[in-house]
């Protein structure tokens, strides 16, 4: 009996619920923490980012219009599928990040728990961040949080799964849609996450995942007039100021985070709050 041949995989992007090749036709080799070749990933271009934003915009109305309860159910289902792929994630996190199996296992478990944690928030955000305002007049005044729109997320460069989940889940839990640029050198767990999303109930376009060079694609997303918010978590330090300046040109919400954020710690609501607008409604009493 002969040994089986190993065929190196060449992965693709995840845009609008489909897995297209990069418009540019490029791909780049991905290595593990020791420098051994693992697979090829698609090297996304600015036009892939443009297509992803269009897909995210198209998905926004239905996703933000779904009931919070429904969004919660969809996200819980994602957590179930994540759980089903646990072994694959553990091996990918271990090779990508160069951590021992035991550590990788704990990172994957924390990532799944993190997803469930944010899924639980979907139908509680309005109660916690919204309010009934006391006003001096015969009116009811309510403030409710609303999703801001399409969010461009630069995923953390180091934490390939836990970090990724910690930046995507809060964006979509509140009804936003997103375009994610993955960790440049550790994209494999993100690619597997896109397969999880494609086989769960998340509508196509709600999460779009682009692998490639963050520094190449991020400026196009920062200046894109149809992107409403920008998460700078995985941005290279040298580029942060430029990205913020470009984002200001189209009045985006920008989430600035501390470098080397510890994703194993229990999060607070700050990432949820970052992508919300407050809508206040006045209503005459007694009508």
């Amino acid at each position: 009996m002969s040994d089986r041949l190993t065929v190196a995989k060449t992965y693709k992007l995840y845009i609008g619920g489909k897995f297209p090749r990069s418009e540019s036709g490029r791909s780049y080799p991905v290595a593990d923490a020791k420098g051994t070749f693992l697979a090829n990933a698609a090297q996304g271009s600015r036009k892939d980012a443009r297509d992803a934003v269009a897909a995210a915009r198209k998905a926004f109305d239905a996703w933000s219009g779904a009931t919070a309860y429904n969004r919660g159910q969809v996200l819980y289902r994602v957590a179930e599928v994540l759980e089903g792929r646990r072994e694959q994630f553990i091996s990918e996190v271990a090779t990508s990040e160069g951590v021992p199996a035991k550590k990788a296992q704990s990172l994957v478990d924390t990532a799944i728990d993190r997803w469930v944690w944010y899924a639980g928030w979907t139908d509680k955000i309005a109660a916690v961040l919204g309010s009934s305002n006391p006003v001096a007049g015969p009116y009811f005044s309510f403030s409710t949080p609303e999703p801001t729109g399409v969010v461009a997320v630069l995923a953390p460069q180091q934490s390939s799964l836990l970090g990724l989940v910690s930046v995507i889940a809060p964006v979509i839990a509140s009804g936003n849609t997103c375009v994610v640029i993955t960790s440049q050198d550790r994209p494999l767990p993100a690619i597997t996450l896109s397969e999880v999303l494609a086989t769960s109930d998340v509508p196509g376009g709600v999460v779009n995942i682009i692998t490639g060079r963050t520094a190449e694609i991020a400026p196009w997303l920062a200046s894109h007039a149809d992107v409403n918010a920008l998460d700078l978590t995985g941005a290279p330090d040298s580029l942060r100021a430029d990205l913020e300046r470009a984002a200001a040109g189209t009045v985006k919400r920008v989430l600035r985070t501390k470098p080397n954020e510890d994703f194993t710690a229990t999060p607070d609501m700050s990432r949820l709050r970052a992508y919300l607008e407050t809508k206040t409604v006045w209503h005459p009493m007694g009508v």
Partner: protein, 318 residues
């Protein structure tokens, strides 16, 4: 059979009677389906960049027949559309106005009032649009009404039932009469290629409309799928090119329906240049029947000039 308003001498024989018309139309060379589709797809891959792209976008904007043909149209909507036709992008006065506004006959007066003195034409659909299923008298009355209200262009539909049953004489006669009813107004003849089934039929219908005196041949009403496609437009462009070669007259082509993106529009412009010739790259000889296309053209124009991607928040909602 009534003679066309301007009988081209070389083709006079074809319109002598119904049987010679049939002989002429069936004597036209057949369309090579695989060939025309391949050529259309091939020209569609041509890359237009930078200054050429910007020029193409401005040209496409000036060729748009900004259209609203909904049962829910109101005078307010037509006034809004007219305002947009005059200044498509209010923040950028250098954007050219569109070629025409296209509405139902009862909205013509409203549109004409708004567009008076702007050089933008008012086009009206007529002749029992979109099905064309009515008597000739009603179709002619519909046309006269539109022209009386101030339409300078009339988009008529042919009787596809008659065409497909081979009653070419009847279709010819109708176009000739409608053309008479139009007076000075330009006549665009809608072939509704989505219902004609074959490219051979599209070629025959194109020639029939040209022989009968149509100033433009238009692909579709926009109410039938498939609407305008590149290969069908190729066949029609070939017809106007051959018409020019035989008679010296210039006639126009208008694809309508389903052209929504700048990329699509530029593919059509490439086809116009390559199939008909650069002469046809002119709003007098080529039009786009569209509504959503204009917003995409404006967004692409901003993208080209601003150096970053634009979004729908920066163009008017209509």
């Amino acid at each position: 059979m009534a003679a066309p308003t301007t009988p081209p001498s070389a083709l006079a024989d074809a319109v002598r009677d119904e049987s010679s018309l049939r002989r002429f139309l069936h004597g036209l060379p057949g369309v090579d389906q695989v060939g025309v589709e391949q050529r259309a797809a091939g020209l569609g891959t041509r890359s237009i960049k930078k200054a050429s792209k910007l020029h193409a976008i401005d040209l496409a904007i000036s060729m748009v027949d900004l259209t609203t043909l909904e049962g829910a149209d109101t005078a307010g909507k037509v006034r809004g559309l007219a305002a947009k036709a005059k200044r498509p992008d209010p923040e950028r006065p250098d954007v050219p106005p569109v070629a025409a506004v296209c509405v139902y006959p009862d909205m013509v007066a409203t549109a004409a009032k708004e567009l008076q003195g702007t050089g933008i034409n008012v086009a009206s659909v007529a002749t029992a649009f979109p099905s064309g299923r009515s008597t000739l008298d009603i179709k002619l009355a519909d046309t006269r009404f539109a022209v009386r209200e101030g339409a300078s262009e009339v988009d008529m539909v042919i009787d596809r039932g008659a065409f497909l049953s081979g009653r070419y004489g009847q279709v010819f006669e109708e176009i000739v009469k409608v053309k008479e009813a139009c007076g000075d107004a330009h006549l665009k003849v809608i072939l509704e290629t989505g219902e004609l089934v074959t490219y051979d039929n599209v070629r025959r219908a194109s020639w029939l409309a040209l022989l009968a005196g149509g100033d433009f041949i238009k692909t579709s009403t926009g109410k039938v799928q498939p609407a305008a496609t590149l290969p069908v437009t190729h066949v029609m462009l070939q017809a106007v090119r051959d018409w020019k070669a035989q008679t010296g007259e210039l006639r126009g082509v208008k694809p309508a329906g389903g052209i929504r993106t700048t990329k699509d529009a530029i593919k059509y412009l490439v086809a116009v240049h390559e199939v008909a010739g650069p002469e046809w790259l002119d709003p007098h000889l080529f039009r786009f029947g569209a509504s959503t296309l204009l917003n995409d053209l404006l967004m692409q124009r901003r993208t080209q000039l601003d150096g970053h991607y634009s979004g729908p928040d920066y163009v008017t909602v209509d």
